[in-house]
């Protein structure tokens, strides 16, 4: 376990340098691995060659043909069906409904079978919301051991209700020489032990669901509070490129992990700071995203049309960077418009806007509005300030004009 000194970096370029330093890892809390660390051995934690090899195996499920099939064929239909099923005028929790939409695809990509019902999707969302507490374990206020036990219990339920049957089915398919089409299948084919595969699938389900749903809630929170809310609401329902810029601007202002941690595995120098083995670095992404030199005047304002420095993406470092950059970045955020003659044709069908943009576009088309009787509430279980506990909303059934 890291016991060394801690350095905090808040300059954009310094953070970028730290994220790309191979001497810095995410491998915290090694002391408890033998006691059943809830995240032991998963792709988010491992380091160096082991991490690169794991990513090479799993990245095969995030290639161009898959991304287009998800975004153009599968996801719009699934999203529209799930939102259309919501009773008009009745309140619901947007955090859960967005999670339901994300989960429909995340489960498919991960290889977790379910019966397709709203109840099954909601149960999976319920489980990943618990898994996500494990990911934020270092930010948990209060007794971490209770949270760890809650996560272990959720793993057991996940195994019994979903994972076990999915694993057995794919093990049989692998024995029959069937080609791998999801993360679970490639992990089985690569020969990883079952308990690690379970934890890995849990992190893929979580990564494909919770970040998206918190971002969807934050987007509408920011958009409804903005000065030109009415105009933006109309554009959001009609212009997927604008929806994508809203997503990227939301990620800039409300990164899911506002402060990233890294551990020095060996002595190194980052942004002029000498680090010894065991030292920690805190990377204040939230602060870096408010640098007016990079993100323009009034960096606190929600402005999807803002012009940013050409050397940085609008989403900044919200997806992390270096070898541990979010594996689903291109799935969730697509690719930015502009400067890309092959992807950025006049035909939107040739462009990837990201699944979060598709979600918010669908919600806007169905007339998403705030619940007039209840306010959204942030999750106070962590210090992150970017996670919602609940986000009450309703739909009017058509675009709000």
């Amino acid at each position: 376990m890291a016991t060394g000194a801690a350095v905090t970096l808040s300059d954009y370029d310094d953070i970028r340098e730290a994220l790309r330093d191979p001497a810095l890892s995410r491998s915290f809390d090694k002391r408890s691995w033998d006691a059943g660390n809830i995240r032991a051995g998963i792709v988010s934690i491992i380091h160096g060659d082991e991490h690169r090899e794991r990513r090479r195996i799993e990245n095969t499920q995030f290639r161009r043909d898959r991304l287009f099939a998800y975004e153009k064929d599968l996801f719009p239909t699934v999203c529209d069906a799930l939102v259309a099923a919501l009773p008009v005028g009745e309140p619901f929790d947007l955090l859960r409904v967005s999670g339901r939409m994300s989960m429909a695809l995340s489960a498919k990509r991960t290889g977790i079978d379910h019966d397709g019902s709203v109840e099954s999707l909601d149960r999976l969302v319920e489980l990943v919301l618990i898994f996500s507490k494990g990911s934020a374990i270092l930010d948990i206020r209060g007794d971490r051991s209770k949270v760890e036990e809650e996560v272990r219990s959720a793993y057991r339920d996940f195994d019994a209700e979903f994972f076990g049957a999915s694993y057995d089915r794919r093990t049989l398919a692998a024995a029959g020489g069937v080609a791998s089409e999801d993360v679970l299948e490639v992990l089985i084919a690569a020969g990883f032990p079952r308990d690690l595969v379970l934890r890995e699938c849990a992190i893929f389900l979580q990564g494909g669901t919770t970040t998206s749903s918190h971002t969807v809630c934050s987007l509408f929170d920011l958009l409804w509070a903005s000065a030109d809310s009415a105009e933006s609401r109309l554009r959001l329902a009609d212009d997927v490129a604008f929806a994508q810029r809203c997503v990227h601007e939301t990620l800039r202002l409300r990164p899911t992990t506002p402060v990233i941690r890294r551990l020095a595995e060996e002595p190194t120098t980052v942004a002029g700071h000498r680090l010894e083995k065991g030292d920690t670095v805190l990377l204040d992404v939230r602060q870096a995203h408010r640098d007016p030199r990079l993100f323009g005047a009034e960096p606190e304002r929600f402005d999807p049309e803002r012009t940013v420095d050409p050397a940085v993406p609008l989403w900044g470092l919200a997806f992390g960077g270096g070898s541990h950059q979010c594996i689903g970045r291109s799935v969730a955020g697509g690719f930015p418009v502009g400067g890309d003659p092959e992807d950025q044709t006049a035909d939107p069908a040739a462009k990837l806007f990201g699944l979060i943009a598709v979600q918010v576009l669908t919600l806007a088309r169905h007339g998403l509005v705030p619940d007039p009787h209840r306010s959204p509430r942030l999750d106070d279980a962590t210090d992150r300030g970017s996670r919602w506990a609940t986000f009450p909303a309703r739909v009017t059934g058509s675009v709000v004009r």
Partner: protein, 69 residues
């Protein structure tokens, strides 16, 4: 390739996220090991902006746009 410019991918660094192949399939492809590799196609000057963005955004810093000179 544009006069004096050459795309390279360091196979020791590449973790195959594939953004380069997805964004510029004419200039990047997959090799037999499943890693990204340049196709060797001529680099039109109009593509320099996107190529530089791809180089900048490569999460593992595996891509370089090098000068032959």
């Amino acid at each position: 390739m544009n006069a004096g410019m050459r795309l390279t991918v360091d196979a020791r660094r590449c973790a195959a996220p594939g953004d380069c192949v997805t964004r510029l399939g004419s200039h990047f492809t997959w090799d037999t090991e499943g890693l990204a590799t340049p196709t060797g196609a001529p680099l039109d000057p109009s593509l320099l902006t996107i190529v530089r963005t791809i180089v900048r955004d490569c999460p593992t810093q595996a891509i370089d746009l090098e000068s032959d000179r």
